[in-house]
Symmetry: C2
Subunit: 436 residues, 2 copies
């Protein structure tokens, strides 16, 4: 049986998962591919810490050249992340004709152009299934499963921490701050939660999914983001009464002229498949011109799910080595010369239905004043809920609007929040009840 040698750069959590999974399913993988995958070298600065998986001493090295200069190594797995020195290692591997598998979304989102060009020039396979959505084979599904279709939009529940917080708030009625503190204590959330919630990591991944889906490159600073920190248990309760669940999702739409790319809390119909995605799960809900909606669901991160994605790419590269092909599918789905510049639609020009919770000191005429401001901005109402005792101080008025332009809506909110009887900052959440 043909042996194919692999070099692994980066022996962290995911790296250890790759080693474990390769050991565990070595025979199964050979039975599928007809080749034997041999992990010849693992390079890491730390080669002494126990990773919970047995590795022969001779395999470990602190010198990355033991991989990059070894002519017997055909496939390099890069799992150190970040820009430096990962980029140098990746380019050196590619230039010496080695196939490359990486989970490095930051690198692909920022330096993708030069890396993709190098891979094409050197006719090597470049796999990055592990860069987005952990164990979900979403990149393959977009590039191959849906390759005969035109993708018009996708909706992505992406973030373990935010889902965790919203799930907890929904199920147990706890406050954002309390759940966040608990998540931090348990190690689920970063010390700086804005990284998780509005962070660049999500934008990197979204940029990759948009490139693959729409054939256009977006600058991730153009992606609009809002976090979940304003959401209170009372909003979750109102949402539930209205038949919705609140999720933080990424929305990407392409009408051919412009692309929408935004990340914000969103009310989804309670019985929609995306609404059941909780805890550490991710899901991508993809609309195409032929299939209608499809959804891909699974663990979006973690040692073994990500290891599965890494090895699926290693196996694709190994099949190519054994059978003499590479670059079977263009890296970004479209051949490079057909990638287009499609501008991002500014958030102010998008339209949405909105949920709003306005907190007022209740007195006659309040609602008419609010409705007047909304009307001035071209916003009509679908429903109004007013609860609480009359003449009490902090009474929530909950409104659902019909589709309204974002800029007009935000004008209205600014004016409403200046009204003398409005006692707190108005909370608003977009409603997506179609997902088309």
């Amino acid at each position: 049986m043909k042996r194919i040698n692999i070099g692994l750069i980066g022996f962290g959590t995911i790296g250890a998962g790759v080693v474990k999974l390769l050991k565990k399913n070595s025979a199964l993988i050979s039975h599928k591919t007809g080749v034997k995958l041999v992990l010849k070298k693992i390079a890491d600065l730390d080669i002494t810490t126990d990773r919970g998986v047995k590795v022969d001493k001779g395999v470990l090295t602190t010198n990355v050249d033991d991989i990059l200069r070894d002519r017997e190594i055909d496939i390099v797995i890069e799992l150190i992340g970040g820009y430096k020195p990962a980029k140098e290692f990746i380019l050196r591997a590619i230039k010496s004709g080695k196939h490359l598998v990486t989970a490095n979304k930051a690198m692909l989102a920022v330096h993708g152009d030069s890396i993709f060009a190098a891979a094409a020039k050197n006719s090597v396979h470049l796999g990055f299934e592990a860069a987005v959505c952990g164990g979900i084979p979403i990149i393959r599904s977009i590039k191959e499963g849906l390759c005969a279709t035109k993708i018009s939009s996708f909706y992505w529940i992406f973030n373990g921490t935010c889902n965790y917080i919203l799930t907890k708030m929904t199920k147990e009625g706890e406050k954002f701050d309390d759940v966040l503190k608990e998540a931090q204590r348990l190690g689920y959330a970063e010390a700086d939660p804005t990284f998780d919630i509005q962070g660049i990591d999500t934008a990197h991944k979204l940029a990759i999914l948009i490139m693959l889906s729409f054939g256009t490159k977006v600058r991730f600073k153009d992606i609009y983001t809002e976090g979940i920190s304003n959401i209170a248990p009372i909003d979750i309760e109102f949402a539930s009464n209205l038949g919705y669940k609140i999720k933080l999702i990424a929305i990407a739409r392409n009408d051919g002229k412009s692309v929408q790319a935004r990340v914000h809390p969103t009310m989804l119909k309670s019985d929609h498949p995306l609404a059941t995605v909780g805890d550490v799960y991710n899901a991508v809900y993809v609309n195409t011109d032929a299939t209608g909606p499809t959804m891909f669901y699974g663990k979006g991160a973690g040692m073994m799910p990500t290891a599965s994605a890494v090895l699926s790419d290693v196996i694709e590269a190994a099949r190519g080595i054994a059978q003499g092909f590479s670059g079977r599918v263009p890296l970004l789905s479209l051949k490079d010369e057909f990638m287009k510049e499609i501008p991002i639609k500014p958030i102010g020009e998008t339209a949405s239905k909105y949920y709003m919770r306005i907190t007022v000191k209740d007195k006659p005429g309040v609602l008419s004043k609010i409705a007047g401001i909304l009307g001035d901005n071209g916003i009509s109402l679908e429903s109004v809920i007013q609860k609480g005792k009359p003449s009490s101080k902090n009474v929530p008025i909950v409104l659902q609007t019909h589709h309204a332009p974002d800029s007009g809506f935000k004008n209205a909110i600014r004016r409403i929040d200046k009204l003398s009887f409005v006692t707190k900052k108005t909370v608003y959440i977009r409603i997506e009840d179609q997902l088309e």
Copy 2:
């Protein structure tokens, strides 16, 4: 640009969808593959009926030899279904070195061995994504996306009609018979609903998914099936109160020693992603040793979703022609020599939690008698709900059991249904609250 010629055998609904989609996305497909797909011939006995898509006269033929003997045709799409004459056409195409794409699950489930062997011998690509789950790229995902993992089980919501009926019963509280009649009137359900509900079509598809997932061949007559016709609106209501939804699902599990393969109505936790799959949607919930659960969701049938699956295989074959590879991935995921015989576990040896609704003439001692019979068969109870007026005639007693062996449970049911105070046949539904 290299041109690759395609011959289509069978110009029915799916065939017309393939022609439409290929026309619509022709440029896009070229931009992804670098080749131009040309539909050179369409063979059908009926070449006069309007299919809603424009085709040049010279393309249509009633003589299949115009495809099978045309050396310029590289890829044949077989969409006539059934065994005869499809098998002959498929084998002739393969033997003349043409790549083959088919949606014919019956053929693959029954004559798979000879067809797979012929494809391997003639080094042609054989694509059958369209045979299972319409627009969901489930075959690719199992064979490639999850290729580094061992699949331990999957749960599949498969049937448009049953889902439609159960969705309607759940949302509108209607009776099975009424919803079925309406479905038949609207053309959603076959005149003979057993075909849809307990039918061989499902068994064919399940057999294919089991081959791909577990590397074993099952005879589909060994697949255990129960339909949904016993389920009444009251069961849906009780299920809802207990936190469940009722779905007809296919369950496949592999513990290495035996395989479970069964199709029956099942209570799923209401907030489980599978529980939201309704109407014409399919979903496959796959457990692996690395990713944990993943789910693939979409339209399980229909013209355009199935056309998408057909063309995704055509594109794979076209890439192979352009780049000089074929048989990139073994047809059944594992290379043939590693396929194993794993016996099917008889239904009596499986275990499950059960919901039971026993209808009784209420009087003192009824519950103790029932509990006694259950106890005799080693079945313990998780909950009991007894509603209705005492001493009325048809009072439902709803029980939830802990895990119980199927044979013992059915013994108990037989004994219970013979009790003098039991006035109707007991309804039971398996509960799957783990899906592991």
